[in-house]
Symmetry: C2
Subunit: 194 residues, 2 copies
């Protein structure tokens, strides 16, 4: 059976970089932006739509949908369609060979399907704020607000599709504070469990 | 500065055994039942009272206290006194030398005071149920009910004294699923972070 690592991560925790380090050390592919491209291709949605709606809940769309009543049916099915395609691509990748999958509820999607190590990466607000300013630059919105918004949307998306709490330890085999332990050490610990 | 490891753990997750393994590997003392004895000695409370009320919230006493109004003052201060003494003993132990402290909100108590690695150990209900039946035997109450009751009391105690959520990853540097990873592997990972 293929050995798959899923890495859930808070925005700005460096989960993506840790995934890359682990992939290099273990010599197995990492699906992050590559996953986006694949899902976009299979679903016919634009990459930007997949990036935004494939793991972030849209509170605006929820409100729009509620206000417009049954007229919102097509919007609901667009998101359901994306979820179905995303699930299919993730299951296929896990079937194809050992790999690392970043985000997108892969831990939930693969819970019974693969020999899967489920990891969650987090860090405190201060460390994450420094990280996103360095990685994505400043914006009009404070880094703390950007982090809180993203956390809220990822968390709501996860709960909507899985009925579980995003970042709750029981959904994962190991949860690591990258801010204190450092990204290198996190990668090393994950490799030692493979 | 002394290097202290605090190990929070769900009932039946094997956290106590993991602490012992880590203590042996690193050659530093583990304070678990020894901590109980010390707190009992310093506070003048019976060991059984310290064991039960030093990390488990009593919903019965809360109700009794509410019903009896201000007459409950002495009960409130007994628990406050225990908390104060427990805090004092934990701070002194961390001051005295490198060590491992199991449970009793030590992660919170030492959050600014020591060079402290904060660990949380958990496992799924099934694995924990097997563990407590093996360790403590059967009882009239189902193991699942015993686990749920204990989780609820520990969680309420933690929140009451720390204003934080027991077992939420952000309170710890690493959270480990001992049921999947195994106790030996958990001990090894903790040692590698020391």
């Amino acid at each position: 059976m293929n050995r798959v690592i899923t890495i859930g991560r808070e925005f700005g925790s460096g989960g993506r970089s840790i995934a890359k380090m682990v992939g290099e050390k273990l010599g197995i592919p990492v699906y992050d932006s590559e996953l986006l491209a694949k899902i976009a291709e299979e679903s016919g949605f634009a990459k930007e739509y997949v990036a935004d709606c494939g793991e972030n809940f849209s509170f605006d769309r929820l409100i729009a949908r509620s206000l417009s009543g049954i007229g919102s049916y097509s919007q609901a099915t667009a998101e359901d369609h994306l979820w179905t395609m995303q699930r299919k691509v993730i299951l296929e990748l896990a079937e194809k060979g050992s790999c690392i999958i970043v985000g997108r509820c892969a831990d939930y999607i693969l819970r019974d399907k693969a020999d899967c190590l489920r990891v969650f990466i987090y860090a405190d607000m201060k460390k994450r704020a420094e990280h996103i300013v360095k990685a994505y630059g400043e914006s009009d919105v404070s880094p703390e607000k950007r982090l809180r918004d993203k956390d809220k949307r990822r968390s709501a998306f996860y709960t909507y599709h899985t009925d579980m709490t995003w970042g709750a330890p029981h959904n994962y085999h190991i949860c690591l504070d990258s801010g204190t332990l450092g990204m290198e050490k996190c990668a090393e610990l994950i490799c030692s469990l493979y």
